[in-house]
Symmetry: C2
Subunit: 322 residues, 2 copies
């Protein structure tokens, strides 16, 4: 009988892939990192990955003590165990990553996309502990989401459910152009880069004084908006209010779908704390269908700043064997 179970959490990203060995309290015992782009051949990537997994497992008594492998990857499909058509990874088409690791290591492997992994991580190790209905919204370069309903991740019929960054917030031609080819998606407004677009719009549509004018508009990053807002810059604060207002309206629509106990926000943008969370809450309560008023919690992830993606992937592995 094993008292402590260990799982490998794999955070597979466009730049790096991190392999961590994790216990069921969320303690990471060891980690190895490889550069994803160094492996244009998928087979070579799997071989290197297996090496990393064996190596980190040494810290917990070797590979025989590993119960499962959880992988969070862009375009990861939980049903097929394949990464499908991921634009930012070196392997084109559909790659059977779960089967490949399982073939070499003979350990159960489970795959999902990064935002879903974050939600499962939040459920096992973060602020959503014990919750059966919540929505995790990741605010990064894009806006991602992981939805938990009735204690289960929502993957949908095709394994690709939960793309809340791509609900349409502004219909018609006024909507901002999105990388997905459509207009008006939530992520064009509320991702870190969406906030920068808002900054540029506000700066060019007014002559209002702002610390943000110290930089050339093309050099502004979301961090600059935060720094300016902290110093009391009105225009920067207005950007947070606009972003929060839009997120609150979006969450009001999401409530009509699954009426979650909580909305959990993850990612660098949440470092702004109340500056972003207060406008979200206020807009939500103002815009939500009356029956849902004053019911949902608005929380910041507890995994921010930790190795959230590895923990999320590991949590997925624990869920597989539970």
């Amino acid at each position: 009988m094993k008292d402590v179970k260990y799982v490998i959490g794999v955070d597979l990203g466009g730049t790096n892939t991190v392999f961590g060995v994790v216990d069921d309290k969320g303690k990471i015992y060891d980690e190895r990192k490889i550069k994803t782009k160094d492996y244009p051949s998928f087979d070579d990537f799997v071989a290197a990955g297996c090496g990393c997994i064996k190596s980190v497992s040494e810290k917990v008594g070797g590979i025989d003590n590993i119960c499962a492998i959880g992988i969070g990857a862009p375009n990861g499909n939980c049903y097929s165990g394949c990464i499908e058509l991921a634009p930012n990874l070196p392997w084109k088409g559909i790659v059977p990553i779960a089967d490949s690791f399982n073939k070499f290591l003979h350990i159960p492997v489970v795959l999902t996309n990064d935002a879903n992994a974050a939600a499962i991580g939040e459920m096992m190790f973060g602020v959503a502990k014990g919750m059966k209905n919540f929505i995790e919204i990741t605010l990064g370069t894009g806006v991602g989401s992981g939805i938990v309903i009735n204690d289960e991740l929502v993957s949908g019929h095709d394994g690709f459910a939960g793309e809340l960054g791509h609900v349409i917030m502004v219909r018609g031609d006024e909507g901002r152009m999105c990388g997905c080819g459509r207009k008006g998606c939530l992520e064009t407004y509320c991702s870190a880069s969406g906030m920068v677009r808002t900054a540029k719009e506000l700066l060019s549509n007014s002559t209002k004084d702002s610390l943000l004018r110290k930089k050339s508009p093309d050099m502004i990053e979301s961090k600059d908006i935060y720094d300016a807002a902290v110093q009391g810059d009105e225009l920067a604060k207005q950007i947070f209010e606009f972003t929060g207002d839009m997120l609150g309206k979006a969450c009001a629509d999401f409530a009509a779908f699954s009426s979650p106990e909580a909305f959990v926000f993850f990612g660098g943008v949440t470092n702004a704390g109340d500056m972003i969370m207060e406008p979200i809450k206020q807009s939500y309560e103002k815009n939500v269908f009356p029956v849902y008023k004053n019911k949902a919690k608005f929380l910041v992830s507890e995994l921010n700043g930790k190795n959230a993606a590895v923990l999320g992937a590991a949590a997925l592995g624990f869920k597989l064997i539970s």
Copy 2:
């Protein structure tokens, strides 16, 4: 050992309440109807209801052969078993309907709202048989919805999830005023009465010839729009196209949430067949996030015209004991 199981399905509405005894193939053996408004006292209603249940049970060998009671009612909360603040029922506040029937009959009772009951009915007896992920959209006086994810009804944290008639389709002041106190809700455009509003708008904003001009605008019903469209009336066809376009856009957003296998449409409006279903499909495929394209089915309920609400409530009862 009972070979055939029987369940009581209760369709509790503002006007009538129907009690039916149903087997697991969806055959209704007997029905009794009472006028809901005749019972301003909730206790009297329960007493009369118990009488109806005993009476219909005679057809299948008496109350001892009844395994469960399923109730579909407006504002029915599946968690509490209570009807909460239903504006169109005679009982104010919160009434513990599941407990009340259980107390008298000692049979397990399960409650949900009418649209959820329709979804469960569709899953057991209709076009959604065998589906684990689908969304039922009811187009009636309002727009209701029942969402099934991972083989389970979505009730949310508070029991009131699945109000897709109240996602906002037109933001800001141009949105049509909704009965819920907000503006731009899907149901203000796509319910039967929403279609009548569209008719009035189109008639007053143009001088286009139309069969609908034969009636005073205040007398137009959704059936008139259908009748005119069938006769080739351009303005009436335009109303179906506008309605379908809006529903398709809404479904595109719903796909980003749960990526269902199918959207199932229920209610009188679907009698228009392709006239409404084709614009929905076309708009959906045009507007949906690329990864979901050409995946979802668009189906008309198979329970239309049957006693759908009784069957749905009964299906809920069967699900309880399964």
